[in-house]
Subunit: 302 residues, 2 copies
Amino acid sequence: MTGKVPFDLKEYLNEKKGLVDKALDSYFPDPSGPASDVIKAMKYSLFAGGKRLRPILCMAGAEAVGGDGKFVLPVACAIELIHTYSLIHDDLPVMDDDDIRRGKPTNHKVFGEAIALLAGDGLLTEAFHLMTADELIALVSPHLILKVISLIAAAAGYGGMVGGQVVDIQWEGKAPDFPIVEYIHTHKTGAMINASVTSGAMLAAGDGPRLTAITSYGKKIGLAFQISDDILDIEGDSETMGKTAGADVEKGKMTYPAVIGLNKSKQIQSDLVEKAIDSLKIFDHGAEPLRQIARYIIKRKK
Amino acid sequence: MTGKVPFDLKEYLNEKKGLVDKALDSYFPDPSGPASDVIKAMKYSLFAGGKRLRPILCMAGAEAVGGDGKFVLPVACAIELIHTYSLIHDDLPVMDDDDIRRGKPTNHKVFGEAIALLAGDGLLTEAFHLMTADELIALVSPHLILKVISLIAAAAGYGGMVGGQVVDIQWEGKAPDFPIVEYIHTHKTGAMINASVTSGAMLAAGDGPRLTAITSYGKKIGLAFQISDDILDIEGDSETMGKTAGADVEKGKMTYPAVIGLNKSKQIQSDLVEKAIDSLKIFDHGAEPLRQIARYIIKRKK
């Protein structure tokens, strides 16, 4: 394509993160009233320094098919609420029992386990509330919004993220099993990453081969992202990551490196990224953010 | 109204419960695959003998405004999923720490705390998935379905049920406080009971003064239901109820009897039921189930 401007990923991520942070802030009230502690707890984790990768992917998905990323902000932010709830519940003592997340005490360390549990429940519920926002209905057909809610609920539920978390917990400390680690990664992490980019494209009226291409991309980077997380657990720096390196190994988590070794894991994630980018060949410069994000996913340090 | 047939509440509740049970069963697969335990856990609590009061109210709300209760089954059942998730999370050791519910071991006693937590998350998520069912979209305008999802999410979230649970937990063992117990009851229980009957009426195209009347009814019976629960904790029989009588008193829960005494609590619940029935005066025989359910709520033994 001629006339395309140079693309600066760092600038793009910063700009989009700013939009997401501003929108998220606007969706939540200042904590007040008898239940103010749960609002504080929800906002604590929501504004604890997340990269906003999922909402950015949602906006980039919309842009790839010619839409405006800003229009999909309620859904992009709803996905971040779902991601945040999953981290709060995952960090609870009955689950992964983590004390530090993004360099800060985990939600239950600050607010106690009962409020952390309820903050997670509140974020998950509010995500679906947000997807019915008037500002979204003004721009997108209600029927399409229902399809997107359906897609996201399926990706977050027992056939997606929740199912992946169940298997992740149940297979801790067990003998390496490739079909199981693949199930965990594609469900626990992959399903919602794919839903992020696919929902953005759907909301911007992406359909047919374009939507198929986006979903193909989403599946591949979803798995690549979790493999890169596994690799960071081994090679990463605790301070940079804001969580304890080596935690997966210590807990006996079923990871790609644990099952097939570090080198093979790196090869698979690189292949996935190349194939993800290849999926986007029907798109022009509008899909450049998605291409660059795919490469960033395996280069990131946190 | 002439020509009306005698109304048998017991028969009505049984018939509707049968429809709900059958629909719920159809929405869930047989447990299989790596995450089968969470499906088992979700179904365990979903089929543990619930009265199905909320879905029945949803169907009765539709019928009061001239609709067909069967058409709203996906939403009615979604509300039962949300109710069931709230019980599973509420029973967890970090919350109310209950071992018995409906005469059976609570979810975490059977499946462990991690799976119980995730079963609750899975039910809440699946509730929103169910509200996007094709069978519903075929009958109700997508815009109206979005309004109903919004209503239910708001009633279930931090400004509704979750908010009520937070205050319920935080005020255990504290000095009696009427505004607080009123907040707990209207939020923890009342919001979703009101959303049940109101969503049914909305889906059946109820609007204007008819919808206002239904919501007025829903608010009153929602509060009356929780007061009657408080009274059952004092006067009820553990075996009949399937849970331990006196548990609220023992935990120092903020209840109406604890704050204003048993007699005054009974008076308030009776007044609420009469006012709820009075709210329905613009309706004919179609609202008879709602009238009878209001009376049943304070007469029930479990």
